[in-house]
Each structure stands twice: as structure tokens, then as C-alpha cells.
């Protein structure tokens, strides 16, 4: 075991260790617990960065690989590794978790219980990070499911009024999805390649080679891709499987929303890029038009729904649906540009929407309401900094060039102008146009939101409430995200530079 094959395992599992440690701390040592939370997330982040530093960006293949027998009876291995596709998301996971931990230093949602809260959060962190580095279907699925339970509790315990419904819905819905996904995995397993002894394998790389090499029959691909895609689509969420998202977001505590929007949704899209498409290229080609279609429907639909929202948080939740629509559109084009656009979109959305949820959380913390009408504007007068940050992020989110939100959108539109050979060009150009319309609507609802929250004058009922403007802890938790929003916008290379080779390798596999 040297650094190179243990790094990922250590980094990924560190949070769980943290969770265990925290559990052992008596619950009255509140400060200590929060400190530990920050410590462990920070440590994990440092390790992750170390990995990123040690990563060789020159190539598109997997690094820090560790592959050992795990469950021999079913031929599942503990196979982890990282490449340009995983890297951004992997690091983002630890970054966001760390920031959430910092945020928790100040804000623990009712009903307190910091200990359990942080423990669950750490568990969640491992689950999410693991999903991005697992290269064995079973391992992937295990991490995937591992995310479910803590998030369920985060929503169900620390959520707001309607939390129970939301949590159950979230849980059952995503579980429903993953059942189909599991079916798909097993199908891959059983009709996938076998070794000399005739054992099947869950190894994603081997399955990818096999599938990309046309190992699976067309009909098989159609069926199985459908199943897996359904499972992933629920997680993304793609229209019309998105209805769990607004509820989950609205009810979840700030941290929950941040992680949910920031990372969890990406697991679905990542699954498409990593599993569904390379392993089942024909299926991907067959479904791409439909996926693209649903994606653009999602874009327009979500932005329209946003216009109708009265609840700030719900609005942002819906906006997520739209943004993930762009990501899916990029993926659906099956082109290098499209897929990279998708990855960039994921990262950007993670940073920006995460930040938006932070803002909403803080706004709620001041006003104790999320009703736009009740807030009633004038925030810019009362809390110029908070308002400024909010506006900045909102504008970033509507895809202003020069900020992170832009590249994902424009590149996916760009790629959909010329989708992968074999896909209906006219159709995808139509999608492009629809997407464009979506961007206008997006701008519309965000600006309208800003008008109703930031602008105007502070209503009577809030005067003399003495709202604090952004406090130190918030700055600490936010600055990295704000900086990233700008830096990614100005130097997209930070992501594209990482993904280019890996995606190139991937698409060259499936390209025909």
C-alpha cells in the first residue's frame, strides 16, 4: 500500500472515520463536535487536493487505481481510481462538504443535535465522493445507495414543516429509480464479458471495453440503457422525473440543499457519462434524441415553473432542474464538446446553485420566511453585502459570460448544433433553439426574483429588525465559492484542461 494506490481510499473513507469519532464524543461537547466536523472535512479536502496535484493531466487514463478482490462469489471487486472526468466532481465534493462544515459552525438547523447532523453529513460525503471514484458497478451502487439514507435523515429530521412527506418522497422515488438501475447493472453483469473461468464481472472498465466494442446486442442495449437511464434520470433529475426535487429542496436544511444540489444531482449525470453511454453506445445513440428532448423540455418547463414560484427556495430548486437540463443536453449530443460542457455544467451548477442555497439559507435565517412576497424587497438597502452576493450568484446562475454558469450552457448549445454522427442534426438544432429560449426565460425569472427580493424599499414590518449583514462564518463558507464562480468563468481551462483528455478517450471509445 503506497500513496498512489491508497490515496483515494483513504481520502474517501476519512469522513466515515470522522463520523465515528464524532459519534464517540459526548453530545454536550458541542463546540468540539463542530470543530471535529470542520477538521475532518478539511483534512479530506486537503488529501483530495493532494490527489489533484499529484494527478497527471497529460493523459486520459485512470490514476491512483486500487483494484482488489471484494466479493469473490459474485465477482465484485473493490476497484477505485480517478480520471479527468471524476476529478472535478471529486474535488468539488470535498470542497462543498468542507464549506458546509464551516457553515455548520454557526448554523445548526432545528432541532439541533449537532452530533448526529455532522455524522450524517460526513457519511453523506463519503457516499458522494465514493460514487465518483468507484469503478465496479456494485461498489458504485453501494456508494450510490449509501448517499440515500443520510440524506433521508437530513431532510426528515432537520427539514422544515413538510419534511416528512418530502423525505419519504425523495427516498422512495430515488430508490425506485435505483432499483431499475440495479436491474440494468445485473443485466450488464450477466451478459457482460467473462474471464477464463467463465466468471462474470462488475468491473466498469472491462464492461466499458466490452460494450464499446459492440459486445452487447442492439436490443439488449435498448432495454438495459432504458433501465439504467431511468434510474439515473430520477437522480439528475430529468423532466418528468423531477417532482421529488422541489419538495426535497424546499424542506431540506440549508446544508442538505447545498449538498443535494451541489453534488448529489451530479451523480446521475456522472452515471450517464461513466456508465450508461460508454457501456451501451448503441443504446445511447438510440435514446439520445429522447434524452435531449426531455432535457430541453426540462429547461423551458423549469424556467416557466420558476416564474410561478412564490417560495424562494423552491424557485431555486426548480432552476436546478433547468440547469441540469443543459447538462443532459450536452450529454445527449454524445460529442466531446457536449460531454465536457456537461461536466463543466455540473461543476458550475454545483458551485453556483450551492451558493444560491447558502444565500437563501441565510436570508431565511434573517427573515424566517422564504415567501418572496413576505420578504417584499429592499434587501439591498438593509443588507447590501448579502444582496450583492445574492445578485452576483443569481446573475452567474443565469449564465452570464465571464462567470462559471456560462460555459456549460453555451458549450452544450454549441455541441447540439452538430451532434455526434448518426444523430438527427435538425432535431438537435431545434433543441438548441429551445435551449436558447430557455436562457431568456432563465434570465427573466432570476431578474424578477432579484427585483422582488433585493430591489425596492424595505417593507414596514422588517424595519428596525436590525438584520445582520453577512457575518464572518458566512464569508468564510462563501468566499471560495464566489471566487470559483468568477475564476471558473475566466479560466474555464481549470475544468476543460482536466476533462479534455479523459473525455477524448471516452468518446474515441464510443465514437463511430
Amino acid at each position: 500500500m503506497n500513496w498512489h494506490n491508497s490515496a483515494i481510499t483513504v481520502t474517501t473513507l476519512l469522513p466515515i472515520l470522522g463520523a465515528l469519532v464524532i459519534i464517540c464524543v459526548p453530545k454536550d461537547k458541542d463546540r468540539l463536535i463542530r470543530g471535529l466536523g470542520i477538521f475532518f472535512t478539511a483534512a479530506a479536502l486537503v488529501l483530495a487536493i493532494a490527489i489533484a496535484v499529484g494527478f497527471d493531466y497529460g493523459t486520459g487514463d485512470f490514476q491512483f487505481v486500487l483494484n482488489v478482490k471484494w466479493i469473490e462469489t459474485i465477482g465484485a471487486n473493490y476497484h477505485v481510481g480517478i480520471d479527468g472526468i471524476s476529478m472535478p466532481l471529486y474535488v468539488l465534493t470535498f470542497l462543498l462538504s468542507f464549506l458546509c462544515a464551516i457553515y455548520t459552525w454557526r448554523y445548526v438547523p432545528d432541532p439541533g443535535r449537532t452530533k448526529a447532523f455532522l455524522a450524517l453529513m460526513l457519511l453523506l460525503e463519503t457516499g458522494m465522493a465514493g460514487t465518483f471514484i468507484a469503478f465496479d458497478l456494485i461498489l458504485f451502487f453501494v456508494f450510490w445507495e449509501m448517499v440515500l439514507v443520510p440524506m433521508y435523515f437530513l431532510i426528515a429530521i432537520w427539514g422544515s414543516a413538510n419534511r416528512e412527506y418530502a423525505s419519504i418522497k425523495f427516498f422512495l422515488y430515488t430508490l425506485f429509480g435505483s432499483v431499475f438501475m440495479l436491474l440494468g447493472f445485473l443485466a450488464l453483469y450477466f451478459s457482460g464479458p467473462t474471464d477464463a473461468l467463465g466468471h462474470h464481472t462488475f468491473d466498469m472498465l472491462r464492461l466499458t471495453e466490452f460494450g464499446a466494442g459492440g459486445g452487447f446486442s442492439r436490443t439488449f442495449q435498448l432495454v438495459v440503457f432504458g433501465g439504467i437511464a431511468l434510474g439515473l434520470a430520477v437522480k439528475v433529475p430529468m423532466w418528468p422525473f423531477h417532482t421529488w426535487l422541489p419538495d426535497a429542496h424546499t424542506e431540506a436544511p440549508t446544508i442538505g440543499s447545498v449538498l443535494l444540489a451541489g453534488i448529489m444531482l451530479k451523480m446521475g449525470t456522472y452515471g450517464f457519462i461513466r456508465i450508461a453511454i460508454p457501456m451501451l453506445p448503441e443504446g445511447a445513440h438510440a435514446y439520445a434524441p429522447w434524452i435531449g428532448g426531455l432535457a430541453v423540455i426540462g429547461i423551458v418547463y423549469a424556467s416557466l415553473a420558476c416564474l410561478a414560484q412564490k417560495d424562494l427556495k423552491r424557485l431555486i430548486a426548480f432552476s436546478s432542474v433547468g440547469h441540469m437540463g443543459f447538462v443532459m443536453l450536452g450529454i445527449a449530443t454524445l460529442t466531446p464538446i457536449g460531454i465536457q460542457a456537461a461536466i463543466f455544467g455540473m461543476v458550475a451548477h454545483g458551485v453556483i446553485t450551492g451558493m444560491l442555497f447558502f444565500c437563501v439559507g441565510s436570508i431565511y435565517d434573517r427573515y424566517h420566511t422564504r415567501e418572496i412576497a413576505v420578504i417584499g424587497g429592499g434587501m439591498a438597502q438593509e443588507m447590501p453585502k448579502l444582496a450583492g452576493v445574492f445578485a452576483f450568484v443569481a446573475i452567474a446562475s443565469l449564465g452570464l459570460p465571464g462567470l462559471a454558469g456560462f460555459w456549460g450552457e453555451v458549450m452544450s448549445l454549441l455541441s447540439s448544433f452538430n451532434p455526434a454522427p448518426g444523430l438527427n442534426v435538425g432535431l438537435f438544432r431545434a433543441y438548441m433553439v429551445a435551449g436558447g429560449v430557455g436562457t431568456v426565460l432563465t434570465a427573466g425569472y432570476f431578474l424578477w426574483m432579484l427585483q422582488r427580493v433585493n430591489m425596492g424599499t424595505l417593507p414596514e414590518r422588517w424595519s428596525g429588525k436590525g438584520f445582520r449583514d453577512i457575518i464572518a462564518v458566512e464569508w468564510l463558507a462563501w468566499l471560495p465559492l464566489l471566487a470559483l464562480t468568477l475564476v471558473l468563468g475566466l479560466f474555464p481551462r481549470l475544468v476543460f484542461g482536466i476533462t479534455d483528455n479523459a473525455v477524448g478517450a471516452l468518446t474515441s471509445l464510443i465514437g463511430r
Partner: protein, 488 residues
């Protein structure tokens, strides 16, 4: 004649303990009666040690092959002995405070476990029948052990009547099989049945098989022989319910496995459809009815029925292909063991809570996390595991059966797998009702619940075990793999 006492050592030690408990109890003063439990515990542990000494040894047969000690036997015997330890552990306080006849109870419990331990080794109709009775009869009595409580009497009565009836049917079947094949040893029966094939007696033989299955179907509470289970579980003392749910049903499966895979394997074309029907009906009914339960024990009872349905599914997978059967068999074994762990854990948790509320409704678990965090977390784990959701062992259990089903191939396999999945999804909604209560609902009285230390220990261990199984399923699967009675 020479008897391989080494092979019988665990049984002998256990029976010795039984007698010992009975005798010692007589000399114990009322306040000391509880000492019977540690005594029994020691005996069981001793038996376990003896058992372990047999592990890795050669397959031993006694009484002309009617009793066999092979890996299968050892695995299950080990399981039962551990279960015995657990049940004893969770019984102590319950019976000490409930004003029961403790000595007699432990005596009966051990006797029942003696039956369990004999079951997996019995390769003879007569032995199977006797072991089964030995498991059931004390069960009847223990179910009615809360003498003052009419519900308990009722539980005993129902259990007794249905039990005896199914025994009668089973015996009738056995008699017919004996008549048709002229044998009572399982392997001999297999041979005899193969001779019958095609003759005019085949029909009778098949009917006989059906009758025999009934006896065990009752034990594992498969539809339509499941009626007794919920009522009995509810009525009996909780530890007894735990015994019934964990040990007794596992014993039933142990017997069923041997019967089906040794004696009746030749007739699988006949009985596979039956099991298809049984398993589907059982799991579906169990899950759907469980949806409507408000009482925790009944919930567990129906969940148990559903789980039996999953296990029965493995029987429905049998084909001519040895490999498939092997997969099915080991899947069944693995599932039985995993299920045992999580179920016993759940019952332990119930025992812990039952000291707070007499009639255990799910709502009595409200806010448990504040009152008894350990128990709550454990219970949550068990529920998640029963639902088959990662990160718990239950997930593997389901996955193994699922895999076996797919492996079997053909529409049947796939359909079974799909229906099983559908059922699992349905089951989630009632399994999660419990954690929901424990974590999301406020407790009506906040006074911390001091669970008996033994019970807490059991919960803790089971919890860890479930998670460990999830992390290292390999060992478990391997175990099941080795102990298969079907040459893979």
C-alpha cells in the same frame, strides 16, 4: 452397535443441560429462579464449543445415514446455538420481571432448541418429524406462557391447533411416502421415488410430497398456512415470538431444504410450480398486509411471512442443472442466516421497548432516539436491512436470491426476480414507518429508557453484524456456498 458420539456431542451436551436446568430449578428459591438462565447459557456455549470442535472435520453419519453431520448441519447448528444464546439473553429480564415460571421456561426453550439443533442433521422422515415436533411442542406451551393473559392463551391455542393439524397432514403424507417407497431415509426415498416415476403410484407420491411440504410450510408460515403467525407472535411473550420468528422458522427451512433438495429433488417439475405459487403468494400477502399493521409485533410477523416468501423463492428456482440448484440453495442458506440476524435484532429492540409500553404499537417507538439512542439506531438498521437497502446485510441477502433467480434464466427466473423487487419496494414503505416514528416523532415521555444490558448488547452486536455483513459479504456468501447440500 457403535454410535459416533462425537458427532452427537452438541446434542448430548444440550440435552444434558436441559435436564440440569430442570433439576436445578427445583432447588432454587423463587428469587433465585433466574439463575436457570445463566446455567442454560453455559450449557449452550459448551454445546457451541463442542460444535466448533467438529468444524472442518469429515462428514460424520450416524444410525445408518439417518443422521448426518456435514457442513450444512454444522452451519445451521451453529446458527441455532447462537440464536439460543441471543434468545436466552433477551429473555432474562422479561421473564424475571413478568412473574413467569422461569425455570420451566428455560427448560422448554432449550428443549425446543434441541429440536432445532437436531433438525439439520436429520436425514430421515422419522427424525425430521420428531425434531419438528420437538421444536413445536415447547413452542405451543411457551406461546401460552403468559398464563394470566387470555391473549396469550389464545396465541397458544391457535398455534397448537394449526400446528397439530399441519403435523397430521404431514404425517399422512409421510405415511404415504413410506408406503410408496418403502423407505424413510431421505436418500433412499429419492431412489424409491425415482422408481415410482411413470407408474400408477406416481400421483399418490406427488400428493404425499405435497402433504409433507404442508407441515414445513406451516413452520415457515407460508401462505396459506401463515394464519397462526401474527396472532401467535402478538400473543406470546416477546422473547418467545423472537424464538418462533428466528429459530423455529429457520428450523422449518432447514428441514424443507433437506427434504426438497435430497429426497424430492427428482420431482422438481412437480413441486417447483407449487413453490412459485407459494412464494409469490406469501411474499405479496405478507407485504401488503404488513402495510396496514399498527402493532409492531404483528408487523414483524407479516414481515416474517414476506421474508419467508423470498426464501421460498429459491426453491422455485430449482432446475435439472446442478449449478443453478447450488446457487439457489446457497442463496437460501445465506438469506436465512442474514434474515435471522436482523430479525433477532429487531425482536431484541422490541423486547427493550416492551418494558415501556405493554401493547406494542408502532407509535410506541415515537421519539425513541431521544429515549434510547442505541436501540433506536439498531432498530433503524434492522428495518433498513429487512427492507434490503444498503448499507446493510439485507441488501446482499436479496441480491444473492436475485442473482440466483437471474442465473436460473428463462422468463420464470426473471419474472420472479422482478416481482421480488417490486415486493421489496413495497416493503420499504412499512419498514421505514418504524424509523420514522423513532426519529421524527416526539416521544410522549422523555424519561430515558434503560434497556437491559444484555438486550442492549444483543442489539449492538446485531447492528454491527448487519453492517459488517454488508461490508464483508464475501465470508458470508462463502459460508453459504460451502454448506450447500447440492454439489455445485
Amino acid at each position: 452397535m457403535d454410535i459416533d458420539y462425537r458427532a452427537l456431542l452438541p446434542e448430548l451436551i444440550l440435552s444434558g443441560t436441559v435436564i440440569l436446568v430442570l433439576v436445578v430449578d427445583v432447588f432454587l428459591s423463587a428469587r433465585r429462579k433466574w439463575l436457570a438462565m445463566p446455567l442454560a447459557m453455559v450449557g449452550v456455549v459448551a454445546a457451541l464449543v463442542a460444535l466448533l470442535s467438529l468444524v472442518g472435520g469429515p462428514t460424520r453419519t450416524a444410525f445408518g445415514g439417518s443422521f448426518v453431520v456435514d457442513r450444512f448441519t454444522l452451519l445451521f447448528q451453529g446458527f441455532f446455538l447462537v440464536a439460543a444464546i441471543v434468545v436466552l439473553a433477551i429473555s432474562l429480564r422479561y421473564f424475571r420481571e413478568g412473574g413467569f415460571y422461569q425455570g420451566e421456561y428455560y427448560f422448554l426453550l432449550l428443549t425446543a432448541f434441541l429440536g432445532c439443533v437436531m433438525m439439520p442433521g436429520s436425514r430421515d422422515l422419522l427424525l425430521l418429524f420428531v425434531s419438528l415436533e420437538l421444536v413445536s411442542a415447547p413452542g405451543f406451551l411457551m406461546a401460552a406462557f403468559r398464563k394470566g393473559d387470555i391473549r396469550s392463551n389464545e396465541a397458544g391455542l391457535k398455534f397448537f391447533l394449526i400446528g397439530v393439524l399441519s403435523t397430521a397432514v404431514m404425517l399422512y403424507g409421510m405415511s404415504l411416502i413410506y408406503g410408496v417407497t418403502g423407505a424413510t431415509r431421505l436418500d433412499a426415498i429419492a431412489v424409491g421415488l425415482s422408481r415410482v416415476v411413470g407408474t400408477s403410484r406416481e400421483t399418490l407420491a406427488l400428493a404425499a410430497i405435497l402433504f409433507v411440504v404442508v407441515g414445513f410450510a406451516f413452520k415457515v408460515s407460508a401462505f396459506p398456512f401463515q394464519f397462526w403467525a401474527p396472532d401467535t407472535y402478538e400473543g406470546s411473550p416477546v422473547p418467545v415470538a423472537a424464538f418462533l420468528a428466528v429459530a423455529s422458522s429457520a428450523a422449518g427451512f432447514a428441514g424443507l431444504l433437506q427434504l426438497m433438495f435430497i429426497a424430492f429433488i427428482g420431482q422438481h417439475e412437480f413441486w417447483v410450480p407449487i413453490f412459485v405459487l407459494l412464494s409469490l403468494a406469501t411474499m405479496t400477502l405478507g407485504n401488503l398486509v404488513a402495510l396496514q399493521q399498527t402493532q409492531i409485533v404483528r408487523l414483524l410477523a407479516y414481515s416474517g411471512i414476506a421474508q419467508s416468501g423470498y426464501i421460498l423463492m429459491t426453491f422455485a428456482l430449482v432446475t435439472d442443472d446442478a449449478a443453478t440448484n447450488h446457487a439457489a440453495f446457497s442463496a437460501a442458506v445465506a438469506y436465512i442466516l442474514i434474515y435471522g440476524v436482523m430479525n433477532v435484532g429487531a425482536f431484541a429492540a422490541v423486547v427493550a421497548v416492551s418494558r415501556r409500553a405493554s401493547s406494542l404499537r408502532i407509535s410506541d417507538f415515537a421519539g425513541l432516539v431521544k429515549v434510547a439512542p442505541l436501540i433506536a439506531v439498531g432498530m433503524a438498521t434492522f428495518m433498513i436491512s429487512l427492507a434490503g437497502v444498503p448499507p446493510t446485510g439485507g441488501f446482499w441477502g436479496k441480491l444473492l436470491i436475485f442473482r440466483a433467480a437471474i442465473d436460473r434464466g428463462g422468463p420464470l427466473g426473471v419474472w420472479l426476480a422482478v416481482i421480488m423487487l417490486a415486493n421489496s419496494v413495497v416493503s420499504i414503505s412499512y419498514y421505514f414507518a418504524v424509523p420514522r416514528q423513532m426519529f421524527l416523532k416526539p416521544a410522549e415521555d422523555e424519561t430515558p429508557l434503560a434497556a437491559p444490558v444484555l438486550v442492549s448488547a444483543v442489539v449492538a452486536v446485531a447492528t454491527v453484524a448487519i453492517v459488517m455483513i454488508f461490508i464483508l459479504p464475501g465470508a458470508f456468501a462463502r459460508l453459504a456456498d460451502l454448506s450447500s447440500l447440492v454439489g455445485g
